[in-house]
Amino acid sequence: MYATSYHRAASVEDAVQMRNAHEEGRYLSGGMTLIATMKQRLAAPTDLIDLRHIPTLRGIRIEGRRVTIGAATPHAEVAGHAELRALCPAICQLAGHIGDPHVRHMGTIGGSIANNDPAADYPAGMLGLGATIVTDRRSMSADEFFTGLFETALEEGEMVTAVSFDAPEKAGYAKFSNPASRYAMTGVFVAKTATGIRVAVTGAGSNGVFRQSDMEAALAGNWSPQSIAHINVDASELLSDMHGSAEYRANLVKVMAKRALASAG
C-alpha cells in the first residue's frame, strides 16, 4: 500500500467537501475491494474519505412496502433485519451470503454497488428488484446505474446515499460460488414485482450484471421453474475464465434461475 490519508466524514456535506478538496481522493465505504486493491498497489488514492460513520447513510427504513437502505448499511444489518426479512427475505438471504462474517460487518451496500464488481451479489439484487439508486445529486434506476464491468453511472465525486425499492410479491436469489474466492461464479436474482418480472444475473456477464430477458418473458406467462426449462442461455456474451467457461456459466444461469425460482415459491 502506498501512503494515504484517512478522513472520517461526519456528514454527506462534510464528505463532499473533503472529496472536492482532494483530486486523487476516494470515498471509502467498507473498503472490501478498495483496501485490498490498495494493498496490492493497484490503486493509490492520496486520501480516503470514510462514509461508514455518517449517521444519515446508515440504517433501513420501511414505509408500507417501500424499503430504503442507507448506503453505509453493512451487509450483516441487512441480513439480520427482521422487518425486512418479513417483507423481502430474498435480499436478506443475499446479504447474508456475501463474503464471510468479517466482510458482512465491514462491507456496505453502497460500497458494493458503487464498485459494481461483476461477481458481486448486490448488483443482481438491485437490478432484480428494479431498485432506485439515490445519490447526493439525483436518483436513477438500477437499469441506468449499472453500466459495465466495475462501471456505473456515477460521475466523478458522486456518492451513493441510499437504495430504495418496493418489496416484490415474490423474489429469490441463488448463487454458485467460485470455489476459490467464493464470489458469485453465477448468481441469479428473480423477482415478481408490481411492474413485471425481473431476472438479473451477476458473475456471468462479460459486461457485468445483466437482465435475462428471455427468462423474464417466459416467466411473465407462468411463474415457475418449468417455464424456463426450454431456454438455452446464450454463452457468447458470458465471461470465461479458468474457474468457469462461458458454456459452464450459461448452464449455471439456468440452474441458478431455476433454484432462485424454487426458493422464491
Binding site: Q40, P179, A180, S181, H243, G244, Y248, L252
Partner: protein
C-alpha cells in the same frame, strides 16, 4: 503408560501461546538498528537481463542500499544447490543449472530475485524497489510439463539440453515387458498429478544480523531444519563458516515441506547485513509466497498394469515426467525418484516393476517436496490404476486389492523398499465396516431418487517415513545423513530439558517429546521443556519432514534417556547401597525394586550436581547426548474410503462421508495424531477437489492469490471417521511409524475413485472442480 505418558490424549502444551497470540515468529523478532528488505523480482518468466540501474532507487527516501547479483558474485557467494545426486540411466550425473541467489544475466521464472533494497521501512524499501530499472530482453517461455522436452522448446539452462535434468530408471524393464506381453489383462491409464502451492499460514521470513566486531552472523528464519540451513549456507554458499553462523528457527507457522529448503532470501539478507552493516529483515507477502515458495507434485505418467487370469498383478510399468521448475531446489531431485518410484509396489505383491522418470526444467517456480513428497504421486498413480483395473475386470475394487495384498513380512519389493510390518487387510476391513460399504448400493439408489449421483471409492496407501537410514540414502545419492540427535539435560533440581534436532512447526513436539520423558521417569509433564530450532543450543540435527520426528527424533531421545537413566541408577544404587541391577525408575522415584527404599527423582539429580557422594570415578552432572540413525524406513499404511454425491446440474461434489483407517504403529498422543490426519486429509481433499497452480503461456502465475487458488475451507470438508490399526514398527524402540503425511497421501485417489464412480467414467483429472465434473458429465452421454 501414565496420564501424561505415551498413548495419553495430552492437550498441546504449546497451544496456549499460539492461541493467545504469544507465539514468537521470525517477523516478531526486532533488534536494534534493524532495517527492512524488499526484493526486486522478475516480471518475466524468461528473459536476459541487459542492464540494472539502481541510481534512482538509491536516491529514494530512507534507502540504505540497493544490491544486485554482480555484487553477490564479486563477494564469492555461491549458487544454490540441490543436495541429492541422481544419475541418469546412461550413468551421467543430473544436469544442474546455475541458480544464483540474485539473478545475474538471466531470469527464469516470474519472481526470480534480481536485486535487494534495504531501507528504513518496508514501505520505503518497496517504493525504492519500484524505482530500480531492470532492462530485460524477453525470451520464449515453456511452463508445461508435457511441452518442456518437445523439439524446439525454449532452452532454460545451457547445462541441460532439451530441458532434461535426468532420465532415471528403477526396476527390471525386461521382466516387466515380458509379463505385460503374456498378461491376461493389461490396464493402461494416464495419470496427471496437479501442481500445488504449499501455503503455510506463516509466509517465509528472515532476519540477517551481521556483527562486525565478532565477524559473526545470526540468521532468524522460517525453517523446518535450521541446522541443515547452517550447514548448506556455510559449506556451499560461503556465507560464513559454521562456527560464525547461528541459525534460529523460532516458532514457525507451518511448512509442509516448503520451509525445508534454503531460498535466496536468507542468503541475500545475511550478505546484505554485512554489506550495509545493519540487521536486515525480509518478510514475504502472500503474493511472493505464491510466486516463490517451492511448489509440489506436477507429474505426468503413463501406466501399464498387467494381471494374470486369476487377477493377480504380474507387473507394473510406469513412465513419468516430473516438472522441477526453473531451478533444482534443495531436495527436488529425490522427490520423483527415491521418494516416489520406490513406493510403486504399494500394498501389493507385484513381482516386476519398472519406472522411468524424466525430470524437466520449465519457467516456473522450483518444485520440491510438499507434504508426502513423491509418495502421494505414487499412491495416486497406483490406486487410480487399481480402481480402473477393477472396473475393467468387473471385480470389486476391495476384492482386487485384497487378492493382491502383501501378507508376509518382511517383504522385499522390486523397488528397493523392504517393508517390515503391516496388516493391510485389517485397515481395509475396518474402513469398509466404518463406511458401511455393503450398504452403498441402497444409498446410491436413494441419492438417484433425489437427482444426485452418488459414488464410492477407496485407496489403500503405503508410505515410507522415518526418513531415513543414513548409509542407505548416502548410497542413493543423498548429500547428508538422515539421523537425528537428542540431548537430555537433567537440571540439579530434577527438571529436564530435552534438546532435539527435530523442529516443531505445528506438529506438537513440545507435547509429544515431553510425554515420552514424563512416561519414562514418572515426572510431571510441566517439569520438562523441549528445546529446538537454535543451532547455538542444539548441537546438530536434521530437522522435521518426511514424518521423521517421532520415529527418528524421539528414538534419539530414547537413546539419550537410556544413558541418563543408567547414570541415575548408578548414583541411586550408590546412595542407597543397593545393587544397580535392582534399581527401577517410576512415578518420579528411583527405587530399589521389591523394597520400600526410594529416592525422589530430584534428589538423585541433585546428588549428580553436588557431587558430594558419587560412585568412585563418576563425572558429576546428569546430561547425555545421543545420535540415532534408523535401521530402516517406517511404513505407515491404511485404507481410506470416500463417498460423494455429485450434483449433475452444477458438477459440484459433496463429500458425504470420509473414512480413514490408519496403521501408524504405536501412537504417542491420539489427539495430535487425529489432528495430523485431519489436516492431511484436508490437504489431500484440497488437491483432489480444489487446488491447482496454473500458469498462462507467458509464464505468468494465474493463481497468485487466494482469489484464484482455492484452498479447502471447513465447509468443504465432512466430519472424518478415523480408526487406527496397529502393527508396531519393529525397527525403532518406540514402535512408531509417523502420521504427518498419510492424510495427504491417501485421500486424493479415494476421492477421485469415488467421483469417477459417481459420474460413470474415468475421464477426469484433479482437481475435480465443479466445472470439470460438469464437463465430464456432458461428454459421458
Amino acid at each position: 503408560m501414565g496420564v501424561e505418558g505415551i498413548g495419553a490424549r495430552v492437550a498441546r502444551k504449546e497451544d496456549k501461546r499460539f492461541l493467545t497470540g504469544k507465539g514468537r515468529y521470525t517477523d516478531d523478532m526486532t533488534v536494534p538498528g534493524m532495517k527492512f528488505a524488499y526484493f526486486v523480482r522478475s516480471p518475466h518468466a524468461h528473459a536476459k537481463i541487459t542492464n540494472i540501474d539502481v541510481s534512482a532507487a538509491k536516491a529514494m527516501p530512507g534507502v540504505i542500499d540497493v544490491l544486485d547479483g554482480n555484487q553477490l558474485l564479486d563477494d564469492g557467494i555461491g549458487n544454490l544447490i540441490c543436495g541429492w545426486m541422481i544419475h541418469s540411466k546412461d550413468g551421467s550425473p543430473m544436469k544442474m543449472g546455475a541458480w544464483r541467489p540474485l539473478a545475474v544475466d538471466t531470469v527464469r521464472y516470474v519472481g526470480d530475485a534480481v536485486a535487494i533494497v534495504v531501507a528504513d521501512s518496508s514501505a520505503e524499501a518497496r517504493d525504492a524497489a519500484e524505482a530500480v530499472v531492470v532492462d530485460y530482453q524477453e525470451l520464449p517461455v515453456v511452463t508445461d510439463t508435457a511441452a518442456a522436452m518437445a523439439p524446439g522448446a525454449p532452452q532454460i539452462h545451457p547445462e541441460a539440453p532439451n530441458n532434461l535434468i535426468y532420465d532415471w530408471e528403477i526396476g527390471d524393464g525386461s521382466a516387466v515387458d515380458q509379463a505385460i506381453a503374456s498378461a491376461a489383462h493389461v490396464t493402461e491409464i494416464e495419470i496427471h498429478n496437479n501442481r500445488l502451492s504449499p501455503n503455510p499460514m506463516e509466509p517465509r521470513a528472515t532476519l540477517g544480523i551481521y556483527d562486525s566486531a565478532e565477524d559473526h552472523y545470526t540468521c532468524y528464519t522460517t525453517s523446518q531444519n535450521p541446522h541443515v540451513a547452517r550447514l548448506v549456507m556455510s559449506a556451499f554458499y560461503n556465507v560464513a563458516p559454521e562456527n560464525k553462523l547461528r541459525v534460529i528457527a523460532p516458532d514457525v507457522g507451518g511448512g509442509f515441506g516448503s520451509k525445508i529448503y534454503i531460498y535466496p532470501e536468507e542468503i541475500v539478507c545475511l550478505w546484505a547485513s554485512k554489506k550495509t552493516n545493519v540487521p536486515v529483515k525480509w518478510v514475504s507477502d502472500r503474493t511472493e509466497a505464491f510466486l516463490t515458495d517451492a511448489h509440489g507434485r506436477d507429474h505426468l505418467s503413463k501406466v501399464k498394469m498387467a494381471f494374470d487370469a486369476d487377477n493377480r498383478i504380474t507387473a507394473l510399468k510406469v513412465d513419468t515426467v516430473a516438472n522441477l521448475g526453473a531451478y533444482m531446489s534443495l531436495f527436488s531431485s529425490a522427490v520423483p525418484t527415491y521418494l516416489y518410484a520406490t513406493l510403486l509396489s504399494g500394498q501389493y505383491a507385484i513381482p516386476a516393476i519398472h519406472a522411468n522418470v524424466r525430470t524437466v526444467y520449465t519457467n516456473t517456480v522450483p518444485v520440491d517436496a510438499y507434504r508426502g513428497a513423491g509418495r502421494p504421486e505414487a499412491t495416486y498413480l497406483l490406486e487410480r490404476t487399481m480402481e480402473t483395473a477393477a472396473r475393467e475386470l468387473g471385480v470389486s475394487p476391495a476384492e482386487l486389492r485384497r487378492k493382491n495384498f502383501i501378507r508376509t513380512f518382511p517383504y522385499q519389493t522390486p523397488v528397493i523398499m523392504n517393508y517390515d510390518a503391516g496388516d493391510y487387510e485389517a485397515s481395509l476391513n475396518a474402513a469398509m465396516q466404518a463406511a458401511d460399504w455393503a450398504g452403498f448400493e441402497a444409498r446410491r439408489a436413494e441419492a438417484e431418487a433425489r437427482g444426485k449421483k452418488r459414488g464410492i471409492g477407496m485407496s489403500c496407501y503405503i508410505e515410507a517415513c522415518g526418513i531415513a537410514p543414513s548409509q542407505a540414502v548416502g548410497s542413493l545419492g543423498a548429500g547428508v545423513g538422515l539421523w537425528e540427535s537428542a540431548e537430555v539435560r537433567v537440571n540439579a533440581v530434577g527438571t529436564i530439558e530435552v534438546l532435539t534436532g527435530s523442529h516443531s512447526h505445528g506438529q506438537g513436539h513440545e507435547t509429544t517429546f515431553a510425554q515420552l520423558v514424563a512416561g519414562r521417569l514418572g515426572v510431571p509433564i510441566e517439569s520438562i521443556n523441549i528445546v529446538h530450532g537454535d543451532t547455538d543450543k542444539v548441537q546438530m540435527g536434521m530437522g522435521t519432514y518426511g514424518s521423521r520426528s517421532g520415529a527418528v527424533g524421539m528414538s534419539a531421545v530414547v537413546k539419550a534417556l537410556d544413558k541418563v537413566e543408567a547414570k541415575a541408577k548408578k548414583i541411586a544404587a550408590h546412595l542407597m547401597e543397593a545393587d544397580e541391577q535392582d534399581i527401577v525408575i517410576e512415578n518420579g522415584e528411583v527405587k530399589v525394586a521389591g523394597t520400600d527404599k526410594a529416592l525422589p527423582w530430584f534428589q538423585v539429580a541433585l546428588a549428580a550436581y553436588t557431587a558430594h557422594n558419587l560412585p568412585s570415578g563418576m563425572e558429576p552432572g546428569l546430561k547425555e547426548t545421543a545420535f540415532y540413525d534408523p535401521a530402516n524406513f517406517t511404513f505407515p499404511a491404511g485404507c481410506y474410503i470416500a463417498e460423494v454425491e455429485v450434483d449433475p446440474e452444477t458438477g459440484k461434489t459433496e463429500i458425504v462421508q470420509f473414512v480413514a483407517a490408519d496403521d501408524f504403529g504405536n501412537i504417542i498422543n491420539p489427539l495430535i495424531v487425529e489432528g495430523q490426519v485431519h489436516g492431511g486429509l484436508a490437504q489431500g481433499i484440497g488437491q483432489a477437489l480444489l487446488e491447482n497452480v496454473q500458469y498462462d503461456s507467458n509464464g505468468q502465475l494465474l493463481t497468485a492469490s487466494f482469489m484464484d487458488y482455492a484452498m479447502p475451507r471447513a465447509d468443504d470438508l465432512p466430519s472424518f471417521k478415523l480408526s487406527h490399526q496397529n502393527t508396531p514398527c519393529p525397527s525403532n524402540p518406540l514402535g512408531i511409524k509417523g502420521c504427518g503425511e498419510a492424510g495427504a497421501i491417501g485421500s486424493p485417489p479415494a476421492l477421485m475413485n469415488a467421483i469417477t464412480d459417481a459420474i460413470g467414467h474415468n475421464r477426469l483429472t484433479m482437481p475435480a472442480t465443479p466445472m470439470k465434473v460438469w464437463q465430464a458429465l456432458q461428454t459421458a452421454h
